[in-house]
Point group: none
Chain length 260, copies 2
Amino acid sequence: MTADRKELAALSPEERQAVILEKVNAAGRVLAAGLAQEFGVSEDSIRRDLRDLSDAGLVQRFHGGAARLVTPALDFHRREALHAEEKQSIGRAAAAPIPDGATLLVDSSTTVVRFVRALSPALSLRIITTAVDVAAAALDHPLAEVVMLGGRLGRLTRSATGAGAIDAIRALRVDYCVLGTCGIDHGLTLRADDFEDAHLKSAMIRAANKTLLLATADKLGQAATYEVAPIAAVSALFTSSRDTAILKAIREAGVDVETV
Amino acid sequence: MTADRKELAALSPEERQAVILEKVNAAGRVLAAGLAQEFGVSEDSIRRDLRDLSDAGLVQRFHGGAARLVTPALDFHRREALHAEEKQSIGRAAAAPIPDGATLLVDSSTTVVRFVRALSPALSLRIITTAVDVAAAALDHPLAEVVMLGGRLGRLTRSATGAGAIDAIRALRVDYCVLGTCGIDHGLTLRADDFEDAHLKSAMIRAANKTLLLATADKLGQAATYEVAPIAAVSALFTSSRDTAILKAIREAGVDVETV
DNA sequence: CATATATTTGCGTGTTTGTGCATGATTAGA
DNA sequence: TCTAATCATGCACAAACACGCAAATATATG
């Protein structure tokens, strides 16, 4: 949305790099030659930008351009296999208190996929999601009604993004919002590079009566630049972390913390 | 080095290796010659890729290609592949003529999933679908932009239904519509019980410049109650059927029939 | 306002990487 | 064994790259 260019107005390197980073995360990969033409600068400047972004650890370079850090190919399944047991038990714990007839709004993450799989088959549920993998898992549930929110799919999250999805969420009113992707510091945080997702998640939280947060141990204390919501917006946190200091602080914010 | 250098977007070696690794793990084994053709590079480059992957301990090489390092306990993907070599070759045949830069509107079926997997990784495509499994497969394609149309998901087709999806399709204008679920009699037919899907499919056909129909042998001559469109609405039929009588009739309706 | 300093940019130079082709070596299969 | 296919190695070429330098621009300071 910010890509509006005034044809000849020269952008500062910072601005340009911000736009490039956005493009990389949206498209998966960009070519130096194409960027040079788009911005009306030489390829050298683009290369300098790419090097800066690479040094900052935000993109991965290759000959001809740059790509997103985590390539889509080495993918979801690999991440899912990582810390599988931990995610499994978090998912199980979070699924336990879900009552019959509930409507759930579920974001995209490997942990919430476990959560969906752990939901009792005896429950009649309504599961709404933007993520293809969550939708696929939810369809295996015998009684769930599954609604997929559409849009352009992000390669990394394998989930819908953009204004369409956000608008659809704004029109919703659900019992539970189930999140698994956020880092937790003083609030729920996301890396700045997917700031579109941040809007999506805060819309999800607003649409829900209660917000459940599922977080593996590595998520706690992970400060990221973009704050989606204050920690008090969360109703309950399910985590494998044993970091008593942080957990105590979260409890004192009024969050029901359950460790597994 | 003159001649027409490929206009196709060249993948970096890293990206190519990631895709190859995926293919190896999905298919069990790959052939160097086939990969070279798919990626539009020489066999030498493929061999270098395979050597790198082998050095990294990710695949096992053999003369002619490479194989998965550890064969997982019988996978349900494997069962599907074994049972449906027919679908595989139909998908491959239908994928072959798709040009670079095309926009595809894809319906839900196991056959079109094969089609999506068979699309050359060297192509820049835009894949729009209502089916979660198609979306998941499309996200593995390195250059595709994937758009998921939202809505309530049907349990059987694992795909969006309803007025929302139909409206979204009405607003589209695409190059190819790829269908795999219809029966074929005198026209494209669907069982009466999913008449909502019939509306969806006819909207998809109307949105497209060309309609490709992928049909396993059992689909031909299968009369069902609801007619989605006349057979002449189809541009090309890819099928494993050898039923000369029906195929002749279809050809005479102006459809380009290709048997595999 | 003028000058000094810093930043950014484009171009030239040499270096690295990726690729394809040629030439032998190796292997699978008859 | 023999034969054809596959493979490794060396080489050449083009594309992409990093580095240094000078001109242009922006920013700061007296």
